[in-house]
């Protein structure tokens, strides 16, 4: 079990909280220690909208250990409306085929359980197609 690690990351995982650089105003996700754009120290929290579009995607049929119960699942790189990209699973896909450029929005979902069936259930962000 890795409880401290999951606890430490809960703001970004549950609520997509990143940062805005106090020096160059770049929006940053996930949070970093140094702004990748201006090399200033990054530390001001910023709430992302959760809106974005699919940059690329693939379907995992052969999952790594710990993800077997989710198989098959779709992972994507999502370009957030505020600029940064993020890697996440897609969910609630229904019959709709995934397409590059498809608008998606963030939801909080169960990612996996940490350890055996008595382990902590770890939640985090996934993205689903925007309801038309």
């Amino acid at each position: 079990m890795e409880i401290p690690r999951h606890w430490r990351l809960k703001k970004q995982r549950y609520a997509l909280v990143g940062e805005v650089c106090p020096h160059c105003e770049a929006k940053i996700f996930p949070p970093r220690d140094v702004c990748p754009h201006c090399s200033g120290e990054a530390k001001t929290p910023y709430q992302f909208s959760g809106q974005g579009e699919v940059y690329s995607y693939t379907v995992m049929n052969d999952a790594p250990a710990g993800f077997e119960e989710n198989t098959p699942y779709t992972v994507a790189v999502v370009k957030l409306a505020e600029g940064p990209m993020v890697t996440a699973q897609l969910t609630d896909l229904g019959a709709e085929p995934v397409k590059i450029g498809m608008p998606v929005e963030m939801v909080t979902r169960r990612i996996r359980s940490d350890g055996n069936d008595r382990g902590m259930i770890v939640y985090g962000y996934k993205f689903r197609p925007v309801m038309q």
Partner: protein
């Protein structure tokens, strides 16, 4: 600048060596390289290894491997840069010899994958950003699939445009005694290949395997008057990093570290990429080979797959990772040993005629780390 030369090389066959341990694989490559160099022994050993502490439950490889290989007491430790670990170890050996800190150094790449019958994919995913990629269920193959999917979309090419790479690799591996798959592929097999991680098929991903490869470096003035082997000069050695996570890059289809690493190594050697007689490009996946060829300047972005029709510098001359097999952190040193074999004129049926100048490039992850070497005879 002092001239650094490769005095000896050694490799084990790549494959599923159920009967050989990490330390024995290492010893075989080390002893074979020492013999190839006429009995020369290194004063320092830099070990490229990615998985040992997780797959074999073994860290502190410097002490283990030197002691077991008759090199006890010398400077030795592990260099880790995911799949580029072996090539990064050669960079360390290059620094140690070129600085004059030691006269003779060895770089060893060793990987023991088959000690685990399952769960290796999760361990390989430690080479990704664990908190934000590995945690989401992404693996090295999935990263390559994400890039290939985007490449196909953005540049309007079909999956078949990548097939020439595994075909070439398998054709060459037929004549490589150390290769895992010594069988040529029929083009029609590729068309019906089973998908693994869409759009990657079985033939787009190199098979993980066990193996060890070693290279002995010294300075040219220290070689015996009549060296056993034709010395190969190491003219350039460059390690460059990029953002670890794919999503953190302004354009994930540009392998920026690969581009800069080629540029730096070529500048050191005083050559241009187009001057080389062969290029051992990293084909861990076929999309990575295409992106690396574009990054090195052999094709414009989006045009890398067209190189098969346009003609190209000899690539994957001994089968690459796809068909020689991919001993993960050792693969970068297999590339170098293969390039040395070519430059010495010892490649037999695979000999690139008149090869004098070679480039090798090993990538850790999707060029999160890129290591480029330039060799000349």
């Amino acid at each position: 600048m002092t001239e650094v030369v490769i005095a000896g090389i050694g490799m084990t066959p790549v494959g599923e060596h159920w009967d050989l341990s990490l330390r024995t694989l290492a010893a075989r490559a080390i002893l074979s390289a020492e013999k190839d160099a006429g009995g020369l022994k290194p004063q320092a050993l830099y070990i490229g290894n990615f998985l040992g502490s997780m797959v074999s439950h073994q860290a502190n490889l410097g002490a283990l491997i030197t002691d077991n290989s008759g090199l006890g007491g010398i400077e030795s430790f592990t260099i880790e840069a995911a799949e580029a670990s072996g090539a990064a170890a050669l960079h360390m050996a290059y620094l140690a010899v070129s600085s004059g800190f030691v006269d003779t150094a060895m770089a060893l790449g060793v990987e023991k994958v088959t000690d685990m019958t399952d769960g290796v994919e999760k361990i390989l995913a430690t080479g990704l950003d664990f908190d934000y990629e590995g945690f989401e269920g992404v693996t090295p193959a999935a990263q390559a699939a994400l890039l290939m999917q985007r490449y196909i979309y953005q540049y309007g090419v079909g999956h078949a445009a990548f097939n020439w790479l595994p075909l070439l690799a398998h054709t060459n591996a037929v004549h490589n005694p150390n290769a895992m798959y010594r069988k040529a592929l029929k083009p029609e097999v590729l068309q019906s290949a089973p998908p693994v991680v869409d759009p990657l098929t079985l033939y787009d991903i190199a098979p993980y395997a066990d193996g060890a490869a070693a290279v002995i470096l010294t300075r040219s003035g220290l070689l015996p008057k009549k060296p056993v082997q034709k010395p190969v000069r190491l003219l350039g050695s460059s390690v460059i990093t990029d953002a670890l996570a794919l999503y953190d890059r302004p354009d994930p289809l540009r392998f920026e570290a690969a581009r800069r690493s080629v540029e730096q190594a070529c500048r050191q050697a005083g050559i241009l990429p187009g001057d080389v007689d062969l290029f051992e490009v990293d084909d861990f996946t076929s999309i990575y080979a295409v992106l690396a060829l574009e990054a090195a300047g052999f094709a414009l972005p989006g045009e890398g797959t067209q190189l098969s029709e346009r003609g190209h510098v000899p690539l994957l001359t001994m089968g690459g990772s796809k068909a020689r097999g991919c001993p993960v952190g050792a693969s970068g040193l297999y590339q170098v040993c293969e390039a040395v074999t070519q430059l010495r004129g010892q490649a037999g049926a695979l000999q690139v005629p008149g090869a004098r100048l070679a480039m090798t490039q090993s990538l850790g992850g999707p060029a999160s780390t890129a290591v480029t070497h330039i060799l000349k005879v």
